[in-house]
């Protein structure tokens, strides 16, 4: 450990880190474009200039390593002047078309210019203009808005190693171009370049002219696509600010970083999975008994009555959160029912696969940790009562067949799911389940990290969490997590302890 002074305050820091990393650690904001924690240092945007005592000129914080006794100023007159100058240069050739730019509202150029520069342009010559082009089926490139930070170029050459983008020409004529649109189409991570672009140069065709970002609400959630447990932001239209009535529609999914997981990107499959959740017509809207809609109260009392048997079974789901699963587990334990787990749906990994997992369910690990028997081990399928939890997504086809036969054979079967599936059609009672952003839920990923997905919108229609239908005496989902952790993992766990990055088992 060494001592450095930042803005006249002393900090104990690790040797070998850069000024920008150290400042970030202590919550000191240094503006930057080209720096990205998962990519190599480029040092080309010059936005992170800071003053270091004894140095003749301002230094780039992203590429200067701290040394013992270093005195750094991030807000001195020299730094302010430098930032102003850098921003004036960056904006020289910029179209300033914020009103029609999709990045507007979350654009670093807007934010920094407003905060650090806010001056009139002194440039009076014609600006260089390029055509906006769709460089892939998913992505468009507007070179005019580009600040040449080369994050996208570095992402494609360092992370996916597919080299589709590069800079061409030099000096003020430099621009980004795509050499291989086909490769970009097939790249399973290509859309990340829209997230890491600090300005409006790269964007998703799908999101173009679709929604102003200030009319959306960011919900921090866990991707439901596979057992990697990537952190995502789910953007939903914010009903409080909108008058046009498309309330709570998911407009996009983008990356939320989790340094503990080493996750700074998400795959395209996860990114575009939001469409599955926007299909409201297919939602199970109310409890349905043999094709007849019934009230929630009736459903609750019916379950109580029908579950008053000796031979019952509860089949949990790797597609549901810890809270939903554990409510069902407690319900089964109280009555001495059998509990089984289905196997996850598997899908071959794309090329490159990076962090994508084969198992296509977010909570496969929880059921494994509980050491539950698999559905293939069910011996007699004619139960008096059967409950199965299903969700958007798939489970292993062999498990599917087994569960369907249990549901068909049982005297009374209940399926808890958000979208009507083959399971619901073969059950006596279907309960409307919420989708992941309608409830607080925790998931254990393949690396044994417990992470929380946040509730962002109200329960749609009459959907309710399972503990409500099963009439288990809980006040919140958080209590269920605590009970699960205490009983199954022998640890104390609550949402506070999970924090933003999750809890490692």
């Amino acid at each position: 450990m060494i001592t450095v002074k930042i803005n006249d305050r002393e900090y104990q820091v690790e040797e070998g880190k850069t000024i920008l990393e150290v400042a970030k650690e202590f919550g000191i904001d240094i503006p930057h474009y080209c720096y990205h924690p998962a990519l190599s240092i480029a040092g080309n945007c010059r936005m992170c200039l800071v003053e270091v005592k004894g140095m003749p000129k301002p230094m780039t914080a992203c590429s200067t390593r701290v040394s013992d006794g270093m005195e750094i100023y991030t807000d001195s007159e020299i730094v302010k002047e430098a930032r102003k100058g850098v921003l004036e240069f960056i904006l020289l050739d910029h179209p300033v078309d914020c009103p029609i730019c999709d990045k507007s509202g979350e654009c670093k150029l807007q934010d920094y210019y407003f905060k650090y520069s806010a001056q009139r342009s002194r440039y009076e010559f014609p600006k260089e203009r390029h055509k906006v082009q769709k460089i892939s089926k998913k992505i468009y490139l507007n070179p005019n808005r580009c600040v040449l930070c080369t994050r996208c170029v570095r992402f494609l050459s360092e992370i996916t190693k597919t080299f589709e983008l590069t800079t061409v020409e030099r000096g003020s004529h430099t621009y980004i171009t795509c050499v291989d649109p086909e490769s970009l189409d097939n790249n399973p991570f290509a859309s990340n370049i829209s997230d890491i672009c600090p300005v409006g140069a790269l964007g998703l065709n799908e999101f173009r002219f679709k929604k102003r970002v200030w009319f959306t609400k960011k919900v921090k959630a866990i991707c439901q696509g596979c057992s990697a447990g990537c952190n995502i932001y789910v953007d939903v239209s914010n009903r409080k600010q909108l008058l046009d009535g498309d309330d709570d529609e998911i407009v996009r999914i983008h990356t939320a970083e989790n340094p503990k997981l080493g996750q700074y990107f998400i795959c395209d499959e996860g990114r575009y999975s939001y469409k599955l959740y926007n299909d409201r017509e297919s939602r199970v809207k109310v409890p349905v008994l043999e094709g007849e809609e019934i009230t929630v109260e009736n459903a609750v009392s019916l379950i109580k009555e029908k579950a008053n048997v000796r031979k019952g079974v509860v089949i949990l789901s790797p597609l549901h959160s810890i809270e939903e699963n554990y409510a069902a587990y407690l319900f089964a334990r109280e009555r001495g029912f059998d509990v089984f787990r289905p196997s996850s749906f598997r899908k071959d990994l794309p090329e490159p696969a990076l962090f994508i997992e084969e198992k296509k369910s977010p909570n496969d690990r929880m059921l494994k940790l509980m050491k539950l028997p698999k559905v293939s081990e069910i011996e007699e399928i004619d139960y008096d009562f059967a409950l199965f939890l299903h969700n958007v997504g798939k489970i292993h086809s062999k498990s599917e067949v087994r569960i369907l036969s249990v549901l068909k054979k049982s005297t009374f079967s209940v399926v808890f799911e958000p979208v009507l599936s083959e399971f619901g059609r073969n059950a006596n009672l279907v309960l409307p389940a919420p989708i992941f952003i309608e409830e607080n839920g925790c998931y254990i990923n393949a690396k044994n990290l417990v992470q929380r997905s946040h509730k962002g919108v109200d329960y749609m229609y009459l959907s309710k969490p399972l503990w409500f239908f099963l009439d288990i005496n809980f006040k919140s989902e958080e209590e269920l997590l605590a009970v699960f952790a205490k009983e199954q993992l022998n640890i104390e766990l609550d949402y506070n302890r999970l924090g933003t990055e999750g809890f490692e088992l």
Binding site: T166, R170, D180
Partner: protein, 163 residues
């Protein structure tokens, strides 16, 4: 028709390759060789060089477009590169460009219809002491004025100069 290096080319390139630590370092010399061989650096040439060196096309394109010495379009038999940097400009490079435009009837960046001449404005040729300078292919013509430019074009047309 796809471009390719023949056996002799490959031998020469192998010799170049031996002088450098890795393939990335060979990008420039290989591009120079390819320009000499094919006349200019087209997209196909860039792909060929990338393939030969087993490097991403993006990398070779990046290098080839960064350096103005690589011609992305075909040039005439005589490539007239007029320095319009500060020293030459002070000593009348602008007038030389005007004269060339007048004689050849083309603008900088263009080639005459007979494929003989291409005019390009270039940055400093490192010969400020003998400004203004025009580089014809690989040869410098120094201390020029409008009269000398006329004579130069005349000689080139007659094929009297070996450049």
């Amino acid at each position: 028709m796809a471009l390719r290096f023949d056996e002799n080319d490959m031998k020469a390139l192998e010799k170049i390759r031996e002088r450098y630590p890795n393939n990335t370092a060979c990008t420039l010399p290989f591009l120079h060789y390819a320009q000499d061989r094919f006349g200019y650096v087209s997209d196909d040439v860039i792909k060929l060089v990338a393939e030969t060196l087993n490097l991403p096309v993006a990398h070779v394109l990046n290098v080839a477009t960064f350096y103005t010495m690589f011609n992305k379009k075909p040039v005439g038999k005589y490539h007239l590169q007029v320095c319009t940097n500060i020293s030459c400009s002070l000593l009348g490079a602008r007038r030389l460009v005007d004269k060339l435009e007048e004689i050849l009837g083309i603008k900088p960046g263009e080639t005459t219809d007979d494929g003989m001449f291409t005019i390009t404005e270039v940055e400093c040729l490192g010969s400020c002491g003998t400004a203004p300078v025009i580089q014809v292919n690989e040869t410098y013509f120094e201390n020029l004025d409008e009269k000398k430019v006329e004579d130069l074009i005349e000689s080139l047309r007659k094929g009297e100069l070996d450049v």
